[in-house]
């Protein structure tokens, strides 16, 4: 049946451009599926806009701040508008990588060892002096990343201790807290999970960047990365990775949709969980649509399943 679907996109986040790409692609698919699409850029008039239009469902195509931190979900809850993706709580938990990593650890889910520091600890407590200790404990290279930011924005792989200050300052431009995480030299994998009552994993996507590291540059450009779906890993590793991804999804009380980013060590023994995304990208180079395609779902099929789950909320 034809529905009025508001596609929420753009917004104030630093991932605005990717969100617009996701939103436009989703809007096209929704139109093909016969729905009436209302594209809404998120700004100070969002509540008025949501109230003015008769909306059956809000499709959240936002990434980062406001879209993946529980803000927009809370607004939609108050307005009684059904929406796609997980609810407020999993968004709040997953957006802060420090909290989500602590939850993984408490559920015995492997995640790379890490320490976090905030801006004031450097400015007021001389935290830079602690860096050699962190290096000693975790070892080099290190991944330096903001605690609350998606799409690999603000992330740097640091090989030399001398490069840590610049990378930390760079990351702190995106978030008040910075994570220094052990670099796991392994196979980068993304596991998408879909389904409300019985969440299921889609085929695992392997990400093989042409450079050493899957950064924002390679994520956003076609041709910078080779993708393999299904991932070139043993069937036992594939099973293990999917089990861990589901455990992550459940540990953060996710529903309907998520994507879990994992690094599998070279021996294919330990799947280290990096993070969970509650609003996975839906662009031409995004991982969720890639996995869905391998599972025999067209982009429209994927969008259809995402909205049907949410319309029945």
């Amino acid at each position: 049946m034809k529905k009025n679907i508001a596609v929420l996109m753009g917004g104030r986040s630093l991932e605005r451009e990717i969100s617009i790409k996701s939103g436009q692609r989703v809007s096209n698919a929704l139109r093909k599926l016969g729905h009436n699409v209302i594209k809404l850029d998120i700004d100070e008039s969002i509540v008025d806009n949501l109230n003015t239009e008769k909306i059956d469902l809000a499709y959240i195509a936002l990434h980062g701040k406001d879209g993946e931190d529980g803000t927009i979900q809370e607004i939609l809850e108050v307005l009684n508008i059904p929406y796609t993706g997980p609810g407020v709580y999993p968004n709040v938990l997953s957006f802060d990588k420090i909290i989500s990593k602590e939850i993984f650890t408490s559920h015995n889910i492997p995640t790379p060892p890490f320490y976090f520091l905030n801006t004031s600890s450097f400015r007021e407590l001389g935290a830079s002096k602690i860096l050699p200790y962190i290096v000693k404990k975790i070892g080099m290279p290190l991944v330096v990343k903001p605690s609350a930011q998606g799409s690999a924005l603000g992330i740097k792989l640091v090989d030399k201790e001398n490069d840590l200050p610049h990378s930390i300052i760079f990351a702190l431009g995106y978030s008040k807290k910075v994570i220094l995480e052990k670099y796991i030299n392994g196979i980068e994998l993304a596991v998408s999970i879909i389904g409300k009552k019985k969440p299921r994993t889609l085929p695992v996507v392997e990400i093989a960047p042409k450079n050493k590291f899957f950064d924002f540059e390679s994520r956003s450009k076609t041709g910078e990365v080779d993708y393999f779906v299904p991932a070139r890993i043993s069937s036992s590793a594939d099973k293990k990775v999917k089990e861990v991804a589901l455990a992550v999804h459940n540990s953060l009380k996710c529903t309907k949709l998520s994507r879990v980013d994992i690094i599998l060590d070279k021996k294919e023994e330990v799947p280290y969980v990096l993070e969970l995304n509650t609003s996975p990208g839906m662009t031409d180079t995004s991982l969720l649509p890639m996995a869905a395609e391998e599972a025999g779902m067209s982009f429209e099929d994927l969008v259809k399943e995402i909205i049907n789950m949410s319309l029945s909320d």
Binding site: L14, D43, T119, G126, L153, I169, K221
Partner: protein, 396 residues
């Protein structure tokens, strides 16, 4: 070229809640829209069918007569046959790059230089040698030394690209003595100068300095190709630029126009013809200058009040841009995300160098925002910079 990360951050500067010192957007709202409407109506009413038809690849002749009047105000005496119109100044640059540059050819630019020019030259695989500028423009002694060195190596320079008036991005103006010297060097080494002059009429203080083209016209008039645009004199939406060049070069440019766009829009050229036929366009320039000079003054004043002990900057006598330089350790790329999160945008300096120099530099456009927002934006930026400096110092 910037990374995707920086490009995406800069794309956010288009949002109205962001105080943008990033793009050099002319204050088109100050145009007289009633008059513009009249020019459009007149364009449609008189010879309307011709004005929406294909036109001549060299440009709409009556409009070129008006360009002659415009250039005369800058001291350049030329004739219609020496002019070709283009779709904006950027196409002029692209056409010239296409004609002159074969892969591996060497060109010289200012350092820092206009990103659009660098990108255009790079797209034709030019090797770019950039010569630093100081407060009087391109450093002549370094240029002279470099030219000698290249001549010894038998490397032919295809051209020297300069924005002598209130350059983008540095804001500096090439002094009269240096203009004469650059021309002398170009003649001596048989090198063409591309003189790009988008901002020449937007001088807010001091006396105008003759263009290099004017100096060349006084001589054999064979050494300078002059290019400019209506983007700052009228509005960028018209997409009209032009080139004044010796005939053999113009013929090639004309072929380039034919093979890419056939002709520049007759419609917009005709409206522009009406605009420049009305003597009030000179008053519009005065009005623009009044607006921009106030914005420049408030930006300079706020910079002085907030960043004096930390940064240095150019003090342009015209144009759109101020060039900001921080201590070496402060990367303007590293603080851009923080700035954008706090609703201020600027362009990191490295994009204005062919080899990613200028990590501690930034371009600030003062033309786009009103004085209140400029003051507010510079204060926000200053606060972020000061916090970042504290952070940097905490690592020492």
């Amino acid at each position: 070229m910037f990374s995707s990360e920086i490009r995406d951050l800069l794309a956010l500067s288009a949002r109205p809640d962001i105080i943008s010192f990033a793009g050099g957007l002319p204050e088109v709202r100050a145009q007289n829209f009633q008059k513009l409407e009249k020019y459009v109506k007149r364009t449609l009413k008189s010879d309307g069918d011709i004005n929406i038809q294909y036109g001549c690849s060299d440009g709409y002749y009556p409009f070129k007569t008006k360009l002659i009047d415009v250039m005369r105000l800058e001291g350049i005496e030329t004739v219609e046959e020496d002019i070709i119109t283009t779709t904006g100044g950027q196409q002029a640059l692209d056409l010239l790059a296409k004609i002159f540059i074969n892969p591996g050819d060497t060109v010289i630019t200012e350092s820092p230089a206009y990103t659009g020019a660098l990108n255009s030259f790079k797209s034709y695989e030019a090797k770019i040698i950039d010569i630093p500028v100081d407060e009087n423009g391109i450093d002549i002694s370094i240029l002279e030394k470099k030219l000698k060195e290249l001549e010894k190596k038998k490397i032919q320079i295809k051209f020297i690209y300069l924005v002598p008036n209130f350059s983008n991005p540095s804001g500096v103006t090439l002094s009269f003595d240096r203009r004469k010297k650059v021309l002398e060097l170009a003649k001596k080494h048989r090198i063409i100068i591309l003189e790009d002059n988008p901002y020449g009429m937007l001088r807010y203080e001091g006396k105008p300095i003759p263009t290099i083209k004017e100096l060349d016209i006084r001589g054999d008039n064979l050494n300078v190709i002059y290019l400019s645009t209506l983007s700052k004199l009228l509005a960028p939406g018209f997409r009209i630029g032009w080139i004044v060049a010796p005939h053999p070069i113009l013929e090639k440019i004309s072929l380039g126009v034919q093979s890419t766009i056939l002709c520049v829009s007759t419609f917009t050229q005709r409206i522009a013809y009406e605009y420049f036929s009305d003597p009030s366009w000179v008053d519009n320039i005065k009005r623009f200058k009044g607006i921009y000079s106030k914005r420049r003054d408030i930006m300079l004043k706020t910079l002085k009040g907030n960043l004096s002990s930390i940064a240095s900057w150019s003090k342009p006598k015209g144009g759109f841009f101020i060039w900001l330089r921080f201590p070496d350790y402060l990367s303007t790329k590293d603080i851009l995300a923080d700035a954008v999160r706090n609703k201020v945008a600027y362009v990191p300096g490295s994009g204005f160098y062919p080899d990613e120099k200028g990590l501690n530099e930034a371009r600030l456009a003062f033309c786009t925002e009103n004085t209140e927002r400029i003051e507010k934006g510079i204060k926000i930026l200053s606060k972020i910079v000061k916090e970042k400096i504290k952070l940097y110092k905490s690592f020492k």
